[in-house]
Symmetry: none
Subunit: 185 residues, 2 copies
DNA sequence: CCCGACCGTTCCGTTTACGGAACGCCAGCG
DNA sequence: CGCTGGCGTTCCGTAAACGGAACGGTCGGG
């Protein structure tokens, strides 16, 4: 397992401060907000925010929380995939975002990425399992191997996963999508 | 549920260090691990961990990350719900899980809950905005006010959100669903 | 042309989170 | 019994994250 973990103070920690900085800066500029304004709204010092975005500081939970709230996003939105379980196949790179288990079924919500032109097959899962994808970017071909569907940005696709199935990025762009896997109880 | 969410304020510090402490302690004892052992594995001081679990400290991102790694969980598992912007309407309770902004559009992914029997309307959003729901539990009726769709567990529903639309839990159970809102650029 | 407003960075004194080393406590054991 | 080893908490000096106040740079208006 991994518990030979990053115990050291190596600055190259997977989800370390170096990664959250650019993320904050992106969310801020996306909203057309200046650093000073965000600092004001979050009630943190400009120095704090500047250092945070530059990755030269190691922010406290309070600081992160204040910034996330001022940006209107969940704290988890600032912590890019750092430490999220990641499943990397031949072509498909999936990151488990969340598990919902309080319904009559269990749902796993993934973010999926497939490089342009790549494809990958997956063996059958347990009976009754279905997969649901919403495409953000690119052209996704997915579903039963003999009868796949195709979906572009904004489109939705679903298929039974209790038979061999596959995923492919058929267009010239990388595919970005959300994938929801439903496991009936 | 407009995007003009409550950016400012954050009256008291919700989801602050007080919430992550018990969470860490739960995950640790769940694994039958002693405080000293976790501190050793995470390469943090026992004092740090003790104060963190007690909620008397305001841990840094490095500390949180080291502890999460030593517990073998994603950092997000330590801060679940804590500080997620929650949009609570008349009937619909939504929690923003994640924002995707690297495609040709921006996506906001929510978890949605509607008490059984309740309903709520939403005004039109900007042109081109669409909403996509996947139902986990209950019976969701949603879409254009004059032509809503209905979806049960495992089913999918989408509609244009640039016109007034609504959500309702029409069955005898609460509705749990994921809602993806797509904002074209 | 100068001036004021705002931007993002840097400097600085204060606050505080950090790890190490105590402490008291409770088993297990010779 | 005392001795030993591990537990969780507390104390303490140091390192660093914090907010406030500078700084230089860029606009836009008078």
């Amino acid at each position: 397992m991994d518990s030979t973990a990053a115990s050291e103070s190596a600055p190259a920690l997977p989800g370390g401060a170096a990664h959250v900085g650019p993320r904050v800066r992106a969310l801020r500029t996306e909203r057309g907000m200046s650093l000073s304004e965000l600092a004001r709204r979050a009630s943190v010092g400009k120095a704090t925010l500047s250092g945070l975005e530059a990755g030269t500081r190691n922010p406290t939970l309070d600081t992160l929380h204040a910034v996330a709230a001022a940006l209107g996003v969940a704290l988890t939105a600032l912590v890019v995939g750092g430490g999220s379980p990641r499943i990397r196949g031949a072509a498909v790179d999936m990151e488990l975002l969340r598990v919902f288990d309080d319904g009559p079924a269990t749902y796993e919500l993934y973010r999926m990425r497939i490089p342009a032109g790549a494809e990958q097959a997956s063996p059958a899962h347990h009976p009754g399992v279905t997969e649901h994808a919403t495409v953000f970017a690119g052209e996704l071909q997915a579903g039963q191997l003999d009868a796949p569907g195709v979906a572009g940005p904004g489109a939705y696709l679903e298929w039974a996963a209790d038979a061999p199935h596959g995923y492919a990025a058929v267009g010239p762009e990388d595919v970005h999508a959300s994938l929801l896997i439903r496991y009936p109880t």
